[in-house]
């Protein structure tokens, strides 16, 4: 039987709309589930206290510190590498075998799963370089993981800076580097920051690569060579080991809220940036 076009149209709208609603419903359920169970647990002492008995009692303060330090350190390493790559690709060279190789490397790196990053970090930084499980091992590993995101967003941002800015700069006698530093990068900043925020979001939510490289110590770190536990790892351990379901939900709520905030800010910035560009 063949449906007439009108009926097919109605059916398509119902099926496609239903699928879209289902998708939204599932994703909203995930957030509501976590927040409804986790928000009641939250209070000041949950955030500000140290955990006791492996997190069964007390708060999550050291994991907040870990969640702040690891992404910041990872970005500190990845940002110069990523922006440098983007500047080189856009301002210093023409498309050719070298840029193709660089793009290929970036694209491949973007698809590598976190467990592979974790394995690599564990064998290279933790074991071969004798750094042990620590902030630095974790940050170096995460920095490689987010490098492609930073390169891509920075590249887009730099490409979007109008030609005229560069021309003005050159006509004033600036060298290429001065042009990049004083005319191009400042105007590409919002786009670069968007990439940074997206990367921070990815680092906050990461577990596999972090456990293998930064360890899971619940103590406050004193140096870059101390192990830390991030909220995502803490949640994983609390929930998996059944140490405290209540604190697991609380941690998950803080974790999900932080990621939603970080990602919302980066989307908001990206849209403002795109809007500003087309204006």
């Amino acid at each position: 039987m063949r449906l007439n076009p009108k009926a097919a149209q109605v059916l398509a709208v119902i099926v496609l709309g239903g699928a879209t609603l289902l998708t939204l419903a599932v994703l909203v359920f995930v957030i509501v589930f976590v927040l409804s169970k986790g928000l009641p647990v939250l209070n000041w002492s949950f955030l500000a206290d140290s955990p006791r008995e492996m997190g069964k009692l007390g708060g999550i303060f050291p994991t907040l510190v870990g969640t702040l330090i690891l992404p910041v350190a990872a970005i500190a390493i990845a940002l110069p590498l990523g922006v440098g790559t983007a500047v080189y690709l856009t301002e210093y060279t023409r498309p050719g075998p070298a840029t193709r190789a660089i793009r290929f490397g970036t694209d491949c790196l973007a698809g590598i799963p976190s467990i592979i990053f974790g394995l690599f970090g564990y064998i290279f930084f933790v074991t071969i370089l004798h750094m042990g499980w620590c902030i630095l091992s974790g940050a170096l590993t995460l920095s490689i993981m987010v490098l492609p995101t930073i390169i891509r967003t920075a590249e887009e941002a730099i490409k979007a800076v109008p030609r005229s800015y560069r021309e003005v700069s050159y006509s004033l006698g600036a060298t290429r580097w001065e042009t990049v530093w004083k005319a191009v990068l400042p105007n590409a900043l919002p786009g670069i920051v968007t990439g940074v925020m997206l990367s921070v979001g990815r680092c906050i939510g990461e577990t596999a690569a972090v456990i293998f490289t930064a360890g899971a110590s619940l103590r406050l770190p004193h140096s870059a060579f101390d192990s830390v536990r991030t909220m995502a790892v803490h949640f994983y351990i609390l929930a998996r080991e059944g140490i405290s379901t209540e604190n697991a939900y609380g941690t998950a709520a803080v974790l999900v809220l932080s990621i939603l905030i970080v990602n919302s800010v980066s989307y908001w910035m990206m849209h403002r940036f795109i809007a500003g560009r087309s204006a």
């Binding site: 008995e53 492996m54 930084f125 933790v126 074991t127 370089l129 004798h130 750094m131 042990g132 499980w133 620590c134 630095l136 170096l140 360890g215 899971a216 110590s217 619940l218 103590r219 004193h222 870059a224 060579f225 101390d226 192990s227 998996r240 080991e241 059944g242 140490i243």
Partner: protein
């Protein structure tokens, strides 16, 4: 290309060597057995309270990792909960820090109270697949085991003997996850460290012996394994001192109060 890689490596190595975590330093890492990890955390906290200059980081990872990292120097103290230590551990100094029972656990809804060693072997080998063949209800059995390399698993298999684990068994990588899995599924059976037993699951008697500290001390329960602390032979400083602390009456008391059995 190559010089860049090399210089990158150089920077990383330089940073890495700045790490002042020598084997006899003030800061040590204790790694290994996940069964002993919570107790080690507690002991480390107590130790650091009386020795504010020392920092002890406790990591899990499993017994094999404990032995490996003690050998490699990644950790200054390794923790291993094995009935028999592997040959490569012979280069290390091993001290029994505590003893631990292994409880065979079922879901609280399961009425079964008692299993023999032979029944446990048959269940984990897949010969008995229904609870009624072990004296229980007419329901399927779901076996939950630890991962290969786990000290609890190799001790369990050593003591029960003749186990070649049923392929369909679920595998979980810690005592806590075994407990959660058995607590969630009324047809399942698993095993875990007695110290981590709680009321979400129920321990069955093995060959008539109750799984409890008293029964183990009296020699009435057979699933018991030692927990070793391993250090390099020339260990000194915080590592040696911490091991001595664990073996002292203070440390042994903490171990007893928190649900493990003392070394002697």
């Amino acid at each position: 290309m190559k010089p860049i890689l090399l210089s990158l490596l150089g920077v990383v190595v330089a940073l890495g060597s700045g790490c002042g975590r020598g084997p006899s330093g003030q800061s040590i890492t204790v790694a290994g057995s996940t069964a002993f990890q919570p107790f080690a955390e507690k002991l480390a906290d107590q130790y650091m309270q009386s020795h504010p200059e020392a920092t002890i980081t406790v990591q899990g990872g499993g017994s094999s990792l404990g032995i490996q990292s003690a050998l490699a120097g990644t950790a200054q103290v390794g923790m291993a909960d094995l009935v028999t230590l592997p040959p490569e551990a012979s280069g290390l100094t091993a001290m029994v820090a505590a003893r631990d029972g292994i409880a065979v656990i079922v879901n609280p809804l399961n009425p079964l109270k008692d299993l023999s060693t032979g029944q446990i072997r048959d269940i984990f080998n897949g010969k008995i697949r229904n609870w009624k063949d072990a004296g229980g209800e007419d329901r399927p059995i779901r076996v939950v085991s630890r991962e290969t390399g786990s000290g609890t698993r190799s001790s369990f298999e050593d003591i029960i003997g003749g186990i070649s684990l049923l392929k369909e068994s679920l595998v979980q990588d810690s005592n806590g996850t075994i407990r959660e899995t058995v607590a969630n599924d009324r047809d399942s059976i698993g095993y875990l460290s007695l110290g981590l037993l709680n009321d979400k699951v129920r321990a069955v008697k093995v060959d008539g012996g109750v799984c409890s500290d008293e029964a183990i001390l009296a020699g009435h329960y057979k699933l018991v394994r030692p927990i070793y602390l391993l250090t390099q032979a020339n260990a000194s400083g915080v590592a040696a001192d911490f091991v001595a602390y664990v073996l002292s009456s203070l440390g042994q008391d903490t171990i007893r109060r928190n649900g493990l059995l003392p070394a002697k």
